[in-house]
Amino acid sequence: MELSEQQSELLEQFAQGDLSAFEALFRQFQSEVYRWIMRLVRDPSTAEDLTIETFWRIYRSRARFDSRRSFGAWARRIATNAALDYLKTKRPETVELQDFHASSAANPAIQCDTREHLEQAFRRLPAKLQIAAILALVEGQPHQEIAEVLGISLGAVKLRVFRASRLLRKELESKGIEP
């Protein structure tokens, strides 16, 4: 996709350290970055903190940014790394997945129990597997897109999703839930 001249100029100014260009990009992309992080961490306040952290990392590494490439894709990749770092440092019990809940339920009591066990099972996954599994199994992102955003091969994504599925199934079976 060809960048407009105005956008291209903005990106060049940002790469040179212009704060007002950074502000313009921040305002343009903050919602997109927040939504992406929210998909990964499922907690609004953590997603806000990580959005700030992402833009801080973006600002710090502005000199390495190639202004001919997509800012959005670059930001998404940095956001994914920030979320990954967060999930690695958090113990599974402390990560709340507040936005995980499905709205409709055939049998609310059973659904709630299963949902809780599923959330716990996701939280217990290693960070790398958790991100791949959430994106593939919950968000329904194509494997190729996941590969691009994680900076890994398509095969590696498939392997991570496979391993995550196996661990999820094991965890659920230990709770007496048969998928």
Binding site: Y34, E48, S103, I177
Partner: protein, 72 residues
């Protein structure tokens, strides 16, 4: 794990966990500005290496200290 197992697990997840639709509620730029202000300017590794080299030289050759001070 068979393909059938895989599909069953995916169906269970789909029934119970929904994709995130949460939207940003407020402008984060004021918080970003505060963060930019509170971070001190970073000193590059090269500056630290230069400082370490100068200190090392002065420790090894103390007679160079007046010459160094003269050139400051």
């Amino acid at each position: 794990m068979t393909e059938q197992d895989d599909k069953q697990l995916q169906a269970l997840i789909k029934r119970n966990l929904k994709p995130s639709t949460y939207e940003l509620q407020s402008d984060l730029w004021p918080r970003m500005l505060r963060k930019l202000d509170e971070r001190p300017a970073a000193v590059s590794w090269f500056d630290w290496a230069l400082l370490a080299a100068v200190v090392l030289c002065l420790c090894l050759v103390p007679r160079a200290i007046p010459v160094f001070l003269y050139h400051l």
